[in-house]
Structure formats: C-alpha cells, structure tokens
Amino acid sequence: MLSKLLWPVLFLGMLAGCQQQDNSLGETTSSIIDGRKIYRHSEDGKPTSLDPIKASTVYSNMMAVNIFDTLYAYKYLQRPYELKPNLAADFPQVSDDGLVYTIQLKPGNSFTDHPAFKDGIGRNVTASDFVYSILRSFDPLNGGTGAWLWQGKIVGIDEWKTNGANYDQPPSGLLAVDDLTIRITLTQPYPQLVYTLAMGFSGITPREVVETLGQEFGSRPIGSGPFVLDSFDADVAYLSKNPGYRQETLDIYAEGYLPERHAGLGLESLHGKTPPFIDQLEVHFIKENASRWNSFTKGNEIQYTTVPKDKQNTVLVSADPITLHPLIEDNYHSSYGMEAGFVYHGFNMLDPVFGQTGDPQHDARSKALRCAIRKAHNWDQKNRAFYFGLGSVFPGIIPPSVPEFNAELSMESVSLDIPGALDLLAEHNWNDQNLPDFEYHVTGSVLQKQFFEQMRGFLNKINYPTNKIKYQPYPSFGNFNKAVKNRQAPFFFMAWTLDYPDAENTLQLFYGPNQTPGSNNFNYQNPEFDQLYEASSVMLPSPERTALYQQMNQMVIDDCVVISGLSRKKINLWHKNVITYPDREIVGGYHLKYVDVK
C-alpha cells in the first residue's frame, strides 16, 4: 500500500526535479536569461482594448503609454507631478491670449514595422498623425472614451464630428502646419490642455495601420512608444523593446531624483543610459490576490506587486508611520504612495427626498438630513476596517494629491459627530417615523456589501431604522452607472481617479452644465459655484485660481452634497534585482521604460 502511494510522490518529485527552478524560499533569480533582460510586472486589473482612444482605465492607460508615443509625459521621479516634453521637442508656444498652442515634434521618430506601411517598414511620425489620432476620439464609429477632454475646447472639432468626421478635412483648430509642427486653436483658454497631451488618450497612431486593421487595432496596436506588443491575452501581455525608439539618455536628476527619497534603489546606475533598458516586458494581469502574492514571493515569476489587502497584515508592522516587516524589508524594495484620487459617497441633488426641489422648507430639511448622515459617517472606522488605516481622510473634493490641496481646511465635515447629527435631525423634525428609505446604490460585490453593512451601522447610531436602510446592488458597473446617469440612485458610493494633477479635474464633477449623463453625478446646481468654475477654468495656475478652487470646495462641503473623502495608499513591492520606482497613478505606465533588471 505504501509503495503505491510512494510512486505518485516520486513522479511529482522527478517532474519537479526536471525543471530548472530555484527552490530556495522566495529567493530571487536573475532576470537576465540568455542575455535578454526580462521584467515581469503585475497589475491587479485588466485592460480591455489597447487602442489609445479607449484608454479610460489605469490598466489600459498604462499599456497605451508604453506602446504609443504622447507629446508630453510626467517626470519619472518628480513629486508633485511635473510634465516634460516626450515626443514634443519642447513645451508649447502659447499665444498671449492663451488660445493658440504651437508644438514642435522631435524629428526622426518612427512607427514600428507593419505590413500596412510602404515596404512594411514603419515610417516617421508626423504632425498629421497627431491630428488624426485626436480626431479618432471624435469619430462616432470608433467608440472612443476620451473626447470629453477636448470637446467644445478646440475650434471646429465638434462641427467636424457632426459634418461626417472626414479625416482629410481636419477642423481649423487642429492643424498640422508641416510635418513637425502642430497648431491647436482653442475656443477659450484651457490651461489643462498640456496635461491631456500626456494621457494615453492622446497616444499617436498611424492612419494606414488603423484603417487596415479596423477595430482590431485595439488588439494589435502599432505605435512609436518604447515597447512593441508581441502578444496579449486575458492573463498577460508580452512586449519587446522597440529597437527604433529614440535615443535619449536618462538624466535622473532632471527627472527629480532626490537622495533622501530614492537612494538605495539603484537608480543612480541608470543615469546617462538610454532607455528602455529591458529587452522584454511582461505585464501580468492578476486579480486574484493569493495567486499574485504567491507568484511574487516565489522569486522567479512576477517581480512587482502592490500589496493585496489580505496580505497587509503580513507586510505591515505599523500603519502610522508605515513600517514594513523586517523580512519584507530584507527581501524586497518598497515604496508607498497616495492614490491620485479618492473614494466618496454622493447624493443625487435632483432626488425628490434627499435633493433640492426649490421649496425652501423642503430644501432646508433635506440638507439637514444629508448633513446629519455625513456627521454620522465615521471615516476613521472605515479607514481602519477597509484600508488598514493607510488612507488619508480629507475634507471636501480637493484631494491631497493635487497642488491646490489645503491642509489647513477644517476637518469638521469628515469628523464623526453623532450628537450634532441627532440635533440636526431633531431641529428639522426628522424622526424614525418620518425618515425616508435610504437606498445604498453600488456595483454588487462582497466588499461593497461590507461597506453597506458598515454604513447601516453608522446610520443606526443616529436612530435611522434598520428596515429603512436598503442595499441596492447592480450586477455590473455598467448597470450601476446607468442608474446613476438616469438619476435613479439617491445615494451612491464611488471612486474618482484623477486624470491630471489639477483640482479642476474634481471640481468639474460639480459643475451644473455637467449634470447627468455628464460627469456631475450629483446633479449639483449652484449658480455661484458655476460662475466661479467658469472663471477659474480659463486661469493659469496661480494663488488667485487656488483661492477660487477653495471657495468652490467650501460650497460643496457646506451644501452636504458629498461625504468625502479618503485617498487610499498603496504599498509597492519589487524584487531587489529590479531597478525601478513604480507609480501607476498620474504618471501612468511611463515608469516602465526606465525599469532595469540585474
């Protein structure tokens, strides 16, 4: 009997012995195989299409900026985030009235090879390619998701779309003056324009390849970025170094290197070298935390991960200040950074119960109800329960990741105040008999159910009857988003990821004309807010503009439109044979071209 059991074990042992693997516990192996440098990155989500005009998620954007070129990029190590020219030769020349941007391209950059090109050899990238690439977002046949960045802002671009989207007749506001010169004419000053030209949405695509492949371009992309896509499936994308990528040496000091922040990571060795440094990039899309962690700690599989929620106990010794377990410190490099965005709960201000109707008496009562709910919300408990105490709670809608953040702002709107909430309800004649049904709308998941349970607990503390607090889950984000856009969700839980480091990106969520189906999911209508928004939206960064931003922030806080907010913090870990400084926030995937391995 024993011998029968022994055979399978022996077989497994022999099979394993045939593999050239390192069996030491978590010890990293060399990432240079047959002279080729291979880096295995991982992400906790998956991109869908790789077409840059659909790069609306952090995962798609990360892939897009590595396959395609953008005019601008973010400095690798500089924080707060700072732009630098990428394919553009320099920053734009802007006319005195702030309406005309002239941008020169660096010469001699070419697309990677594809049969659609003459003789199958990638041709030079020109200004016309940029014009074509932006226009693609406006072509109704393409299903692009980034047009909102330029809609109504570039002269003639909306008319171009309504007039049949003829690429041979670009709008007057978006012109290729010559092969290397772009001229953008705006309808009004748009100080955030350059930021949008660093986003994956503005990745430059070759027209002949797009027209040859049609919609398939999204799975077989051809660009001029640092990497070339070899293959892509549900689990992993394999990319190779683009051998024709422009030769520019890395100046880590110009990129924001600070010894006190970056020493010990090996970044100094990259100074003066020409990226990309690796021959092959693998991006593994692993949603399953246990699997990602096992793969990371194995030593010869993925070399980078963010710490999964259920492993934070293993990794962290303390959350404030962040201290990692000595074993983790010994085996891996680490960094931690705040997300460029935040989570929040929002009210639909057009809801007949929780919102505003124009009746002063009703509006005063509904505002008291919203404010009482906000006072009952315990951010600290939420932070501890779901974010391991690593999140940063802040008041209002200007998160800590933007330069306009005001660290001095009163924390009252994010502080637990049960007596204050009860007083407010009593003052406005709310009691357990007349409190309305409270529907909590979210995309259904175990985690969201846990959020709901906690919210119900918070509301119970202000005597909100349990039977009036209802969970309203949706089977997918699409269905949830549909309910929000159709104003069927009086209260919802969401997250916002910043597109660029400017508070305008979050303030526009409360701008009246952006009401649903636009980005103003709150349907917040405040003429005073709108006036300030319109005034500030054409201003360059300045103390005056920041002051306007702060006023708008205070209005949203005072009107109890939103229960906000918390910016999550992620811990990045990577093997010690990898030289990198990962950041997938606003920098997107730009850091991948600077990764080196040993």
């Binding site: 497994l12 042992g13 099979l15 394993a16 045939c18 593999q19 693997q21 069996n23 030491s24 516990l25 978590g26 010890e27 047959d34 869908t48 299409s49 790789l50 077409d51 609306s56 109704p140 299903g143 998701t145 980034g146 047009a147 909102w148 809609q151 919609q215 398939e216 371009f217 999204g218 799975s219 499936d233 549900a234 689990d235 992993v236 593994h284 692993i286 949603k287 399953e288 246990a290 699997s291 096992n294 793969s295 700690t297 194995k298 030593g299 599989e301 089977p475 997918s476 984000f477 699409g478 269905n479 988003n481 549909k482 856009k485 597109d499 526009q508 952006n514 189906p517 636009g518 980005s519």
Partner: protein, 327 residues
C-alpha cells in the same frame, strides 16, 4: 442508407429545435437581463448624444428579432465578429483559448474518471468493508472542500515558496524558445491544476460510479456468473463494468462540452492560464455579447453532437439499443 449515417442525420435534425431553443432563451437573457455595455463604454463626461452613439455602435438600437436572426446567421457561418470589449475577433479568441482549456483540463478529466472508476470498483467489490468506507470517506472529503480552497492550498503546497516550490504558480509557457511544444514545460504547468481537478472530481465521480456498480452487483446475471464460479476480476470487468457502461458513458460524454467550452474559470484565473473559462467569465461580467453568443451557440451545438455520439456509444456498449432507428 447506412444505419449510422441515417442515425446521425436524424439526430442532427432533432438537434435543431434544441439549438434554436437554447440560443433564443440565452439571447433573451443577454439582451434583457445582461449587463448594459453602453454605460461601461461611456467617457467620463458623456452627453445624451454620446449614449445614443454608443447604443448604435453596439447595435442595441436594432429590433430584437433582427438581432436574433443576425445571431443565427453568425452561428451558421461561425463568424461572430469582434469582441465588443477586447477589439479581437471572437473566432481568434476562441481558437486560441479552447485548445489551452483542452490541454489544461483533459489530463484531470481523464485521470479523474479513470481513477474514480477504479476506486469505485474497489469500493463496490469490498462493499461495507474498511476499503469501501475509506474510499467513500475520501470521496466525501473531496466533495466537501471548496474547489477554491483546494486550488489555493495546492498552489501554496506545490508551487509557492511557502511550500515545496516545485511548480510555477502562474503561466502557460508550454513552448520552447523556437515556438515548439515542450512536453516537460507542459507537464510543469499542468501538474498542479490537474492534481486539484482530480482531487475534486474524484469525490463526485467515485460516489456516482460506486452507486452504479453496486446496483449492478444485485443483478441476476452477476449472481449467475458468481454461481458459475467465475473469478471476481472477470465478474468485475466482463459482466459488471460492461453492463454499467451506459451511465458511465452518459456522465463522461456530458462533461465534455463543459471542458471544451466552459473550461475552468477558477483554475484558469488562479494559475494565469488563458483558457476559455476565463474568457467566458469576463464576457459575462462585461456583457460582451459577441463572445457570449459564440460560447452559448457552440455549447448548444456541442451538446447536440455529444448527445449523438453518446447514443452511438450506447449502441456499441449495448447492442440491444438501436437508437430508435427501427432496425
């Protein structure tokens, strides 16, 4: 006309209503109860006209019956167009994923069934004895533990640095540098998923097969064979197993479409294997109708084929069954 050819044609014609029924029901579910992709594909600040454009692009503005007929045409031509989410031809996605799922699941499927039959025979032979109880206890154990727990446990035990660290945690690199299939690499990647699959399927299969075989034990022909003094092995294989083949064939055959089309979502997710299970799951979650239509349609077709092949096998196993052909 040849008996089997006539039988095949007969079954194929019989399968048409089944295919129409399955596709219609699933299409109704997809259209009226599936995720609305419109609101997944919108930009951050959409307008009413953007919503209309997306709906047009997705074909949501077309009448239901028009869309269903288009689906049937796609099924006939096996051209399901492009995935709405991935921008890839559905046919390419499936042709890449189905062989992977087959290669992944087949060893576990074959081993799981073979071992289960062997264990079931041993249990049936020693019915009521300690061997029977031990095998059935093991089967109940396999059935009782969640597949997810088994996958994670096996991954930790066999693949991770916390355990034996013998096999890869993730991936499906079964080709060598020249792009040729590498048997050792394949075994390296398939072993732990196979062990997990066998562990789980063994429980269910063994119980089922044991029940079938025990029922056979009570039949008159077994008593007669025993009375004639045949050896237990002869009785077991020649009389008992052969006569129990019909339910065994049924179980095995009807598992095949699940392997080919559904794959195993959990195995593929946790081991990072790009099979059909993962593609199907993601299509369901995203409301990617072209992929779902292809998977549902192919599953229906495959069931018809399996039904047909199963009935042919029944006839081979038991000549008394004539498949209703009247011959």
């Amino acid at each position: 006309m040849n008996h089997y050819l006539r039988f095949v044609l007969h079954k194929l014609i019989e399968g048409i209503p089944l295919i129409l029924g399955v596709t219609l029901v699933s299409f109704v579910l997809m259209v009226y109860f599936g995720p609305d992709l419109t609101y997944e594909l919108l930009g951050k600040n959409p307008s009413e006209s953007d919503i209309i454009e997306v709906r047009q692009m997705l074909g949501y503005d077309q009448p239901f019956w028009w869309r269903y007929l288009a689906y049937l045409q796609e099924l006939l031509t096996f051209d399901f167009g492009l995935s709405m989410v991935k921008d890839q031809p559905v046919a390419d996605m499936l042709s890449r994923a189905i062989p992977v799922s087959l290669a992944l699941m087949l060893p576990g499927f074959v081993l799981g069934n073979l071992l289960a039959v062997m264990l079931a025979m041993a249990a049936a032979r020693h019915r009521g004895a300690w061997q029977d109880r031990a095998i059935m206890s093991g089967a109940v154990l396999g059935m009782s533990i969640s597949f997810l727990v088994i996958i994670i446990a096996f991954q930790v035990i066999f693949a991770s640095s916390y355990g034996l660290n013998w096999f890869p945690v993730r991936g499906w690199q079964v080709q060598d540098a020249q792009g040729q299939f590498n048997t050792m690499a394949y075994l390296n990647h398939v072993t732990v998923p196979t062990l997990a699959t066998v562990f789980v399927s063994l429980g269910y299969n063994t119980r089922f097969y044991r029940a079938v075989l025990v029922e056979e034990l009570h039949k008159d022909h077994i008593t007669t064979a025993t009375a004639y003094g045949h050896k237990p092995v002869t009785i077991m294989y020649k009389y008992m197993l052969k006569n129990a083949l019909i339910p065994i064939i049924t179980r095995v055959m009807f598992s095949i479409p699940m392997i080919v089309i559904s794959g195993s979502l959990l195995i593929e997710s946790y081991f990072g294997i790009p099979g059909i299970g993962l593609i199907t799951y993601e299509a369901i979650m995203a409301g990617d109708q072209p992929v779902l239509k292809a998977v549902v349609g192919l599953t229906a077709v495959l069931f018809v084929v399996v039904l047909m092949v199963a009935e042919i096998l029944y006839q081979l196993a038991d000549p008394r069954i004539n498949g209703g052909s009247g011959t």
